[in-house]
């Protein structure tokens, strides 16, 4: 087990290096000058050149990469070319906001998805299965940008029961764990939970159905175990797959909520990325992509280790 964990942690090093290369190179693929979007429309060439030197954009790309990587290792992700603020500081504000949203959405998606998927798998072929599967397919198919707008129209504009945007009366800086603020979390979290909910429903359904068809389940029934006890065994067997899917989903939600965060003006990493993309804020883009990708890498690592702990077969392999 320990050897596996060490091996798995060692894998993270080349993966992370690959991630840094992609995070750095990706933003340079877009055509055009890295500063054109932030300087005035007809800014004098000498001022633009001076800015380029200040930000190091006049250096060859491999040199820029080496310098960026060296600084990133010390936690310095450079300064935004738009507002000159340290990227790490912007991320320190945005990441907790996104985590709050992503974890809430994953929890909603996981609880709802596991229940629906479990029911669908257990009662395969019945109307319960059809309803749950239908819900799962819809969840995966609905574009959450559209769903967000629809939910806002219904609950914020028409019924005026939930807010349409933001993190509360004072913004993220004034966040408190009370209903005044939590009500701002409801619509974006539900919107964001729909896709993981659909995916988890389908995964759990397929896994439960597969386990049910295995001989050991028949053996358990033959031994006279009650349904509840049998279900426990099924859950235990299904857990590794579901955990892996949930871990991946959380990873996706951490990085993939650009649209939802924009629709709801939720000041998280997605909103930060959206702003950085439109204004070609290369340091912010690179820093945010790197941090989000590293989240994914770490989450995968955690899921792998957790799976191994839950499933002894994986330890042996």
């Amino acid at each position: 087990m320990l050897a596996y964990i060490i091996r798995r942690i060692l894998y993270v090093i080349p993966i992370s290096l690959g991630v840094t290369i992609i995070a750095f190179a990706l933003v340079h693929i877009a055509p055009g000058d890295p500063l054109n979007a932030v300087v005035g429309a007809d800014a004098p060439a000498e001022v633009v050149e001076k800015l380029k030197r200040d930000y190091g954009f006049d250096q060859p790309l491999p040199f820029q990469y080496a310098r960026w990587l060296g600084r990133a290792l010390t936690g310095d992700l450079g300064n935004s070319v738009v507002n000159n603020q340290p990227v790490a500081a912007s991320l320190a504000i945005a990441v907790p906001n996104t985590l709050m949203l992503a974890i809430t959405a994953t929890l909603i998606g996981f609880v709802l998805g596991a229940c629906l998927g479990g029911l669908a798998g257990y009662f395969q072929g019945t109307w319960i299965d059809k309803i749950a599967t239908g819900f799962g397919v819809t969840g995966v198919s609905v574009p959450h940008y559209w769903l967000g707008i629809v939910l806002v129209i219904i609950f914020a504009v028409e019924f005026n029961v939930l807010p349409a945007m933001g993190m509360g009366p004072g913004g993220s800086a004034g966040w408190e764990w009370n209903w005044t603020h939590l009500r701002h979390l409801v619509l974006p979290a539900i919107t964001l939970s729909v896709i993981p909910c659909g995916i988890i429903t389908r995964t759990v359904r397929a896994t439960v159905a597969e386990i049910l068809s295995q001989e050991f389940v028949q053996a358990l029934h033959a031994k006279g175990l009650l349904h509840g006890r049998v279900m426990l065994h099924i859950i235990k067997n299904a857990a590794p797959t579901v955990l892996a899917v949930m871990g991946l989903q959380l990873g996706y939600l951490l990085g993939g909520s650009i649209l939802v965060e924009t629709v709801f003006n939720w000041p998280g990493t997605g909103y930060l990325l959206n702003d950085a993309i439109f204004r070609r804020d290369i340091p912010t883009l690179q820093g945010t992509i790197l941090v989000l990708a590293m989240f994914f890498v770490v989450l995968n690592l955690a899921v792998d280790i957790l799976q191994t702990a839950v499933d002894p077969r994986m330890r042996r392999s």
Partner: protein, 537 residues
């Protein structure tokens, strides 16, 4: 006899109550205004704002003043320049490269320090002197291009400064209205523009109270503002960046904000049905096609340019915009002093357009192919895809087949800057970029003067005309405003008569607000005053 003292008491009480009521009026006429901007982020607060003119409108000109300000008090006539931090200015008749500015005395920055000639010199060093400790390349990149002829500024006495320009330039007063004055002492406290941005000090009618990047800026009134008539009535102004039009509209309809910029056109009937107001007014903006005039461009033929201008149905486009637009008659509106007396009328006349195309050698059997580069979105671009497709249909009717190269907004600006001959222009015959016509340089000079073709400027099409160049030389040395306007009218007359652009519409800047927002005067300008605005209880 007990009644009389009672009546007296009653009367006294009534008078006292009335007085108290009257005194309480300003307090009642205050409140907090929550304003949803279209910007992705709070515009920079350190002096020179980013986010284009929206940054000037809501942050720059609220926290700061320029030496010359815009008069934003009238909705009925185009705004004019008025004294700001300078009480008067004049050009030296013997050497028109020198301008003397008499500064306003008794003005204080938000940190309590005095505004004087040293502050002016310091602020220009911040932008033009790379060796000064306060030099900010980022701020310079945002504004220096508006004053291409700056040479130096010197202190004459505590309240007089003298500017020197590289060559005589009658547009200097317009240019200086973009240069905002920040407190040197405040910067000296930290010697760091990032720290200054968090706690800035200007001389403007509002002071910054709270700033959360990408989320909000909260401004409070500067009770000691130098112009007592413009001390803000609001108690607090909250600026919220809401870039997504549907999110912005939903925020207004659900009562989370009181005012939004640029509501989605299709949401306007709904906004109005909830008793809210949609305020609009024409302002210096034009949505055109800017033609390439390099060798081989189909737009080099004046008949084709005129035919295109006659072929499009501008009223239909205004309808597409929900009525929020004005059909263009030229680069500026006819009521503008610079409009002139063009003989070519920009209007819809499809038959005349067909005739011109036939004269140019084109027709239904032999259509003209043109390629235009457009964007799917962008600042001031209104509804670029729908509007361009509408124009494409109109032009097809007269024998002009338009092929679009749709690029991202920033990529379009890169092409526009690089010019029609550049490789990234990819052989395009023109670009669709909307323009400000707020000042003569932005409206005309930069597109027309032949020496401002890439890489020197944004004469995208490489337009070159000796007569026009001479006119601009004359204009820059004409310091009498009325005479200068007459010459600018000549420029515009020639522009229209030569059909230099395909002019489509002027935006009217619709902004939606709840019925509680009172006192707003929509000036015919990109900038707006918020000092008279208050919230009704």
């Amino acid at each position: 006899m007990v009644v009389r003292p009672f009546l007296r008491t009653l009367r006294t009480t009534a008078v006292a109550l009335t007085l108290a009521g009257a005194m309480a009026l300003p307090a009642a006429a205050q409140g907090t205004l929550r304003l949803g901007m279209t910007a992705n982020d709070v515009p920079l607060t350190w002096g020179q704002p980013d986010n284009g003119f929206e940054g000037f409108r809501f942050v720059g000109l609220q926290l700061y003043d320029a030496l010359i300000n815009w008069d934003l008090s009238s909705a009925d006539k185009p705004s004019v320049l008025i004294p700001g931090l300078a009480e008067s200015w004049e050009v030296n008749p013997d050497d028109p490269t020198k301008w003397t500015f008499k500064l306003r005395e008794g003005v204080k920055f938000h940190d309590g320090t005095d505004f004087d000639a040293d502050a002016v010199v310091w602020n220009f060093a911040k932008l033009f002197d790379e060796d000064s400790p306060q030099y900010s390349a980022r701020q310079a990149s945002l504004v220096n291009f508006r004053m291409p002829g700056f040479e130096k500024v010197e202190k004459v006495d505590d309240y007089t400064v003298e500017f020197t320009t590289k060559e005589p330039d009658s547009f200097f007063p317009f240019q200086i209205s973009y240069f905002l004055m920040a407190s040197p002492s405040k910067w000296e406290e930290t010697k760091d523009w990032n720290a200054f941005a968090q706690d800035p000090a200007g001389t403007g009618p509002f002071k910054l109270d709270v700033l959360t990047a990408r989320e909000r800026a909260e401004l409070v009134p500067n009770a000691e503002y130098w112009d007592p008539d413009r001390v803000p009535k609001l108690e607090r102004l909250i600026l919220l960046p809401l870039p997504d039009p549907s999110a912005r509209t939903a925020a207004l309809l659900s009562g989370q904000v009181d005012w939004i910029e640029a509501p989605a056109p299709d949401a306007i009937p709904r906004i109005k049905s909830q008793g809210m107001e949609v305020v609009s007014n024409v302002y210096p903006h034009i949505w055109p096609w800017h033609f390439s005039r390099v060798e081989g461009s189909p737009w080099n033929d004046i008949k084709v340019r005129k035919a295109a201008n006659l072929a499009i149905d501008r009223d239909g486009i205004v309808q597409l915009l929900g009525g929020y637009g004005v059909a263009a008659k030229g680069h500026v509106v006819p009521s503008n002093a610079w409009f002139g007396t063009p003989s070519f009328e920009v209007k819809t006349d499809v038959e005349a357009a067909k005739k011109l195309m036939a004269e140019a050698g084109y027709g239904p059997d032999h259509p003209l192919d043109v390629k235009m580069t457009i964007s799917a979105s962008g600042s001031g671009q209104m509804l670029p895809l729908q509007m361009n497709e509408y124009i494409q249909q109109n032009l097809a009717e007269v024998g002009i087949n338009v092929d679009f190269d749709v690029v991202e907004w920033q990529a379009l600006l890169d092409i526009w800057r690089a010019g029609a001959k550049s490789p990234q222009a990819n052989g395009t015959d023109g670009v669709n970029v909307s323009y400000t016509t707020q000042d003569p340089y932005s409206a005309f000079t930069r597109f027309i003067r032949s020496d401002l073709a890439a890489p020197n400027g944004v004469n995208f099409g490489y337009y070159s005309d000796a007569e026009m160049d001479q006119l601009f030389t004359d204009i820059q040395t004409t310091f009498d405003a009325a005479e200068r306007d007459k010459l600018l009218a000549k420029v515009h007359t020639k522009m229209v008569d030569d059909a230099l652009f395909l002019w489509v519409v002027h935006d009217v800047a619709p902004r939606a607000m709840t019925s509680k927002v009172k006192g707003f005067v929509p000036a015919q300008n990109w900038f707006q005053s918020l000092t008279g605005v208050y919230m009704e209880e």
